[in-house]
């Protein structure tokens, strides 16, 4: 990146409807050479440009092991995400990144992994889940358990992964829950934090990685602490309004940390050091 503010031209090749307000965009760079130095790591984010509208920071939801393309799952919340949702396959966008830090996948080697996600919060986790499950990486990690919930069955993202792929991978378990009972749903009903307490995974040799709506994260963090997970093994990601993504525009700071360059991934131990402005 000789100019960190200038995006790479890219093209949307496929759009998948995940939920009524979430779509996943498969994007390839117009210049295939970009991929070789893009080299993102699970947990990192990128800025997607819709030219004429602006940019939004979106976590990369595809694992770097899936070479040649990037996936972003985008919830429609504002002007830019709204514009993105109106695009069709073949549309041109810009990609700027990879930005920020990543999940400490090296440090996690040899450990069991517990993923706890809610709603669109599964998107950044998915990059790491697939990274861990893909190819020979799998051998470096222990059990993989995924607890995931959404408001309703329709609001579950990545249904193909949840129902058809991950549960069939060796050493992998998927626990699903939805907030309220509904017809045709035979699975668990209830909020993610209480489901987590129900399942009550052992903190031994295990990392917990969580992402979801702020309220969920708050209760998941306290549940994990109750279960005995040490702060150094609880990992979450933060979301702040970002513009430049490279630590200059000044709006995503929490204390003296910039979420865009020092985050979005934080250990709970780090979070506890930060002022409560997120």
């Amino acid at each position: 990146m000789d100019n960190p503010l200038k995006p790479y031209p890219a093209t949307i090749v496929k759009i998948t409807d995940e939920t009524p307000d979430v779509k996943t965009f498969q994007i390839v760079f117009d210049d295939p050479g970009v991929w070789d130095h893009f080299r993102h790591k699970p947990g990192q984010v990128a800025q997607i440009s819709v030219f004429g509208v602006g940019e939004a920071t979106i976590s990369i939801t595809s694992s770097p092991t899936r070479k040649g393309l990037l996936e972003f799952s985008v919830k429609r919340v504002g002007l830019l995400t709204g514009a993105l949702h109106q695009l069709e396959a073949g549309s041109k966008v810009g990609i700027r990144g990879p930005l920020g830090n990543h999940f400490p996948y090296e440090e996690m080697k040899g450990s069991d992994l517990l993923f706890i996600g809610g709603g669109i919060g599964l998107a950044p986790l998915r990059a790491l889940i697939d990274f861990v499950l893909d190819g020979e990486n799998r051998s470096h990690y222990g059990q993989v358990e995924i607890i995931y919930g959404a408001r309703s069955a329709a609001d579950l993202c990545f249904k193909d992964d949840l129902f058809n792929r991950w549960p069939h991978m060796p050493g992998t378990k998927v626990y699903l829950t939805i907030d309220r009972p509904e017809e045709g749903w035979n699975g668990h009903v209830g909020f993610v934090p209480s489901y987590l307490e129900e399942i009550s995974p052992s903190p031994r040799n295990r990392f917990a990685i969580t992402c979801g709506p702020p309220v969920m994260i708050k209760f998941v963090l306290s549940a994990l602490q109750k279960l005995g997970f040490p702060d150094e093994r609880i990992i979450t990601t933060l979301e702040m309004k970002m513009k430049c993504g490279v630590g200059k525009c000044g709006r995503c700071n929490i204390g003296s940390k910039f979420v865009c360059v020092d985050g979005p991934v934080f250990y709970l131990s780090q979070l506890k050091e930060l002022p409560p402005e997120f």
């Binding site: 109106q86 695009l87 069709e88 549309s91």
Partner: protein, 660 residues
């Protein structure tokens, strides 16, 4: 991106003969969002529309631009086309390249093409900002309120009731009938007014679908078209009408006499009274202001004589709530108070200067003189009667600027009546112009002239007494000289003004008045019987001076409008209405002040602000009342109130596109 299809119409040679249509289509194909741009000979024709339907399906179009004639012509046509293709009809934008381009720039085909491209660019820009709109429906209470029980109100009530709907008729006087009941004869046919008016009154009273509230006033009107909630104040009559038989003993025995309103002060009535013998209802009320018992605490004569024990001094005002779907305003007129400004006519000090309405009573067989023309001062038959027209009308200096429309004809009628009843009497009419637009009106006027009435063209400058007579001084502008006429009786054709309290009632009901307090119609040409507030209609002189046939016609027209509204249980509301973004609204309610339809009301919303639950006031639009003018959108600083179909975003995008 929105998938926009652009369809450019040749309109035969109308457009195609000037504008290079294929070039317009070609240019349009490069506009952002346009996935298809094509042209056809006649877009509005069946095959043209079919072409659009097919294209919408085939190209998965989400917005449609038709470049053709003015949207005022075929917007609805093409909206239906979109609907046929399964697209929301409001996802259409028309570029007017015929009336406003091809036809206007026939001599400059090159520039016309350039302009057409620009107009299509505008339409595309707007189209890409269009959102689907849905007509909402409002339930309609099929019951009408008619305010005013004169001929207008009665006619409207009867027509609506005859169509099978419930009607509530509110009249503030103790009887219905209004001014028409006071009249002697009607021009130009000289029918007996009472003979045609009183049967209507009876018909109203007896109609099973009409609920009559006399001696009652409308106190409050809430709600909106189809769903008004009206509060009516039934003033205390002090007589229990369920017991009263209308035998008349009470008013015979009542010791108090007061000038009669119905007789225009020329006769008297009692403190307990019915306005006139044919009053409907024919049951009395006590005028508490004048009743001895209410004034001095003694008397109770009526109570003593009443055979049914109907007198109830304790009776209080009653508030009645009614739900109605439509309101007809039929509040009629009053006469201009000439006494206050016409000093030269004696400020009302001369008993023999009377108004035309007083003259009607004077000449009426049921009036105070039994139909004899006797002058009020001494009861003598006048030998010389002077009529002065335009007293307060067409007189911006002292009275009203407008023409009262009925005076020319009734003065002719009065002149005729004087000459008929008092053979040998002289009749002078001072006039500015004689206006006789109406069937058989001019003929009637000419007959009066033949009868011997002297018409003098000019204003009267002074009336003064001389002995027991009056001298009327004026100018005969045709002869160019001053004239003085001795008169035993002077009749002033005073201006017609809205009935007392009309303006306050307008505010209460939520309609607007013109500068003279006549109610304003929604459109002077095309919507003459509708008020500017949906669901409120106008009948008769409350909207402007008019004679009986016009009044009756307007009343029936208003009734027809009400019946049209009542023809369905629900009415569709245009979806191009204002809408409030409550987050942005800060509750200044400036929008409410500029809304001509009272469509905006404050509502309270509660929300969380920095962890605290707070309540705030924001504006809210009643889409049933909103007519989509957009005045509120400009009054709103933060752009919190926006107009669907003409939103800020859309107009700005159009401006941007036109300037490219």
């Amino acid at each position: 991106m929105k998938r926009i299809g652009v369809f450019v119409c040749w309109c035969g040679t109308n457009i195609g003969g000037v504008v290079d249509v294929p070039q317009v289509a070609k240019a349009a194909s490069s506009f952002p969002g346009v996935v298809l741009a094509t042209d056809y000979k006649y877009m509005c024709s069946e095959p043209g529309q079919e072409l659009i339907v097919q294209a919408i399906r085939e190209h998965r179009l989400t917005r449609v631009v038709v470049a053709a004639c003015t949207p005022r012509l075929h917007e609805n046509t093409f909206r239906k086309t979109l609907e046929r293709a399964g697209l929301n009809p409001y996802l259409l934008e028309i570029a007017n390249i015929r009336e406003q381009c091809a036809w206007a720039h026939q001599k400059q085909p090159g520039r016309a093409t350039e302009k057409a491209i620009s107009l299509v660019r505008r339409a595309v820009a707007k189209a890409s900002r269009l959102e689907p709109l849905f007509a909402s429906t409002i339930p309609v209470t099929r019951k009408a309120l008619v305010i005013g029980g004169g001929i207008a109100g009665m006619q409207a009530a009867l027509d609506i009731a005859d169509a099978g709907h419930q009607v509530i008729l509110v009249e503030r006087e103790p009887t219905i009938g209004g001014k028409m009941a006071m009249l002697d004869k009607t021009f130009p046919t000289l029918d007996c007014s009472a003979c045609i008016c009183t049967p209507k009154m009876v018909a109203v009273a007896q109609h099973p679908s009409i609920t009559l509230y006399t001696y009652a006033e409308v106190e409050k009107v809430e709600g909106y078209v189809g769903n008004f909630e009206v509060t009516i104040r039934q003033k205390a009559r002090s007589v229990d009408h369920t017991k009263c038989t209308g035998c008349g003993t009470c008013w015979e025995k009542c010791p108090t006499r007061v000038p009669s309103e119905f007789e225009q002060g020329l006769g008297t009535r009692k403190a307990i009274y019915v306005s006139f013998p044919q009053a409907v209802p024919n049951k009395p009320v006590i005028d508490r202001r004048h009743c001895r018992y209410f004034a001095a605490g003694k008397c109770r004569v009526c109570e003593k004589v009443c055979p049914t024990g109907a007198i109830d001094y304790q009776q209080g005002d009653q508030l009645i709530k009614e739900k109605v779907g439509a309101i007809v305003m039929a509040t009629g007129y009053d006469l201009f108070e000439w006494e206050k400004v016409y000093g030269e006519y004696g400020y009302g000090r001369y008993p023999n200067v009377i108004t035309s309405l007083q003259f009607e009573r004077l000449i009426n067989a049921s009036g105070p003189t039994g139909g004899k023309i006797l002058r009020p001062s001494d009861g003598k038959e006048p030998q010389s009667v002077v009529f002065v027209k335009c007293v307060g009308s067409r007189d911006p200096a002292k009275g009203k600027e407008y023409c009262s429309r009925i005076c020319c004809m009734y003065t002719a009628k009065h002149a005729h009546q004087v000459l008929e009843k008092l053979p040998g009497a002289r009749v002078y009419v001072f006039y500015m112009d004689v206006r006789t637009a109406g069937k058989a009106y001019e003929e009637f006027y000419l007959r009066t002239l033949q009868d011997g009435a002297h018409y003098i063209r000019g204003r009267v400058s002074k009336i003064y007494p001389e002995g027991d007579r009056l001298i009327v001084r004026g100018v005969d502008t045709l002869l160019g000289r001053q004239v003085e006429v001795g008169a035993d009786l002077v009749v002033l054709a005073t201006a017609v003004v809205p009935s007392r309290g009309a303006a306050e009632l307008a505010r209460l009901v939520g309609i607007s008045c013109d500068q003279n307090d006549f109610y304003t119609e929604a459109h002077p040409k095309l919507r003459p019987v509708e008020a500017n507030t949906a669901g409120i209609f106008l009948a008769g002189a409350c909207q402007g001076p008019k004679d009986i046939p016009d009044t009756v016609a307007q009343a029936s027209a208003a009734a027809a409008k009400v019946c049209a509204l009542f023809s369905r249980e629900e009415m569709a509301a245009e979806p191009t209405v204002a809408q409030v973004n409550q987050f942005l609204c800060y509750g200044c309610l400036e929008c409410q002040k500029v809304c001509p339809y009272r469509a905006i009301e404050p509502v309270t919303v509660s929300e969380n602000a920095a962890g605290k639950k707070i309540e705030r006031t924001v504006a809210s639009v009643n889409s049933g009342l909103c007519q989509g003018c957009g005045a509120c959108t400009v009054a709103c600083k933060p752009g919190a109130i926006n107009l669907k179909g003409f939103s800020n975003e859309q107009v700005l995008a159009e401006v941007d596109a036109l300037c490219l």
